[in-house]
């Protein structure tokens, strides 16, 4: 197949050269803005770099990692993050699937519902945090006033440790449930019709159709939606910063916020970098899994 051309390259060789030419600027930029800083994180993580002594004079080896592992509050933050991620994904999946099935079943007003559904996804997370902080204010908030009308006593949405955790979870759900819903809607729209027609001929009920046809066929979409949300939920920072600053106590101290605090309030960038490196390993592992899964579908 190799056809020699004027410059002595085969056609495939010219393809490769053209591809490399197009890739080079983008790839170089990625290496500069992402890979280089990442290596710098690793470099910082083995040095005694604090904002009081911002230099790389002292090599400390794995000391930062040791210190990070010995920290009293790190396990707590990891546990809060795990709870937060699991709670939001499970609830988002249930609500998201209900909304997706409903949207799939309606024709009328479908595009209006869809537009409303999309809206939160484009709203700034800082705005979401500010909005709900205002609505949930314990004395001046409209939510406590409204539940007061039906005789429920005011709730300290952000002041009580147990309640604050769920307030943050629910705020994040308000913001992100649409993500799950529209991915599932797209999945439902792409399902083949034949299995349902066959099942109807056999007299299967709607619920049986859902369990034995919809769920198995939707498995890839469900898996991708959940994996993406999992990775995104681990990154949650903005609403924590706005609504609770990790509090009350450490009730909402998600890992991103914890690392941010270690670096910019604890002033120990070296140790924060060690924790960031740990988080990096988790995220890369999840991404690699997602990637393998997405490729196995093709």
């Amino acid at each position: 197949m190799s056809v020699a051309t004027a410059d002595g390259l085969t056609l495939a060789g010219r393809d490769r050269r053209f591809g490399l030419l197009l890739t080079a600027p983008g790839l170089l930029s990625l290496l500069i803005v992402i890979t280089f800083p990442l290596f710098f994180t690793l470099y910082t993580s083995v040095h005694d770099y604090t904002l009081l002594t911002p230099n790389y004079d002292t090599f400390v080896g794995t000391e930062n990692y040791q210190e990070a592992l010995d920290e009293e509050y790190l396990p707590g933050s990891l546990w809060v993050t795990t709870k937060f991620v699991l709670a939001s994904i499970v609830i988002e999946f249930i609500i998201g699937f209900a909304v997706a099935l409903s949207l799939h079943a309606t024709r009328r007003f479908g595009s209006i519902y869809y537009l409303i559904l999309l809206a939160p996804l484009l709203i700034n997370p800082v705005v979401v945090g500010l909005l709900w902080r205002m609505l949930l204010h314990s004395e001046l908030g409209i939510v406590n006033y409204t539940i007061g009308l039906v005789g429920i006593s005011p709730v300290s949405w952000l002041g009580d440790a147990d309640v604050a955790f769920w307030t943050v979870v629910l705020t994040d759900i308000w913001h992100q449930v649409s993500f799950m819903a529209i991915l599932l809607v797209a999945g439902l729209a792409a399902l083949p019709r034949e299995p349902y027609e066959a099942a109807r001929m056999d007299g299967a009920s709607t619920i049986r159709c859902f369990i034995h046809i919809t769920l198995p066929l939707m498995r890839p979409v469900i898996a991708v939606a959940i994996l993406l949300r999992l990775i995104f939920a681990i990154k949650t920072f903005d609403i924590i910063f706005i609504m609770t600053k990790g509090g009350p106590g450490t009730a909402t101290d998600l890992i991103s916020y914890y690392i941010y605090r270690a670096a910019f309030f604890g002033l120990d960038v070296g140790r924060a970098s060690a924790m960031a490196a740990g988080l990096l390993v988790i995220i890369l592992a999840l991404t690699a899994y997602l990637y393998r899964y997405m490729n196995s579908l093709k």
């Binding site: 890739t23 990625l30 909304v99 099935l101």
Partner: protein
Amino acid sequence: MRAWMSRDTGKRGGCRERSFCARVDVDEGMTANSRGTMRKRGRLKFLSWLLPHGILVVFSAVIVLPLLWLLRVALTDKKTAYKIPPEWGQASFDNFVEIFTGYPFFSYFLNSATVALGATVIALPLAVGLAYAFARYNTGGLPLRLFVLSSQMLPPVILVLPLFTLFLKASLINTLPGLILAHMTLSLPFLAWLLVAFFDGEVATLEQAARTDGATRFQALVRITLPVAAPGILAAGLLAFLLSWNEFLYALILSGPHTNTLPVGLSSFQTHRGVDIALLSAATICAILPAMVLLPFLRRYLIKGLSLGALK
């Protein structure tokens, strides 16, 4: 017929009538029976209409009502905004005027727009090159794609630490170019990954035809593929713009008083003079306005953007 009609008026009456029916219309048993299943099916049909709409109406209300409340607070005067139980004051745009005249929100807007536009405009051509090479020539193969995907998945808090120390050294801290560079860590991988989907499919066939007619690889890209994929590229660019318009953590750490972006301005507004919810609401409305205006145009592309091209 009468029996059938009365059955719909009340449950008890319906029951009695049904037993009456069964006793009298002996030879019409079949008909009554099929009427029953029809009615059952009708009720089921009504239920399967009501349930989805019910769920969607409740869901939509939960999303829309808080936003409407935000708008209401932004339009009332400062004192009325705090009243509980709520009072409906005179609607005015005073708050919107005041945030721009009495506070540096104009500068926040300008900084946000500059940074988002800068990051998008620089990243877009770079990403087009990457995505096109992936789609057409599979340059770098699976490892390079994984590299781009992982870059996009990185939590900002991991990157903000080295960017902070590096920018400190390079005196890029508190500057708009520094912030643009930081935002490119978001937009470049996002765009590169997303655009691949726009270069696959039909346009590849078109391009093949052009190549057979003697167009060079470069001509095929510039004259065929880019014009055909232009709407998708534009939509992707707008999504990338919103991505950095909404970004908070990088801006929080890497910007200073003169380079604060809108989200940072909003987050610090609370502490200036206590909380002034009427002014804050007006400012937040302005902050989400660009996204809400673009929403109808972006809806077709949003699904691709959100699922990172995993779903079409």
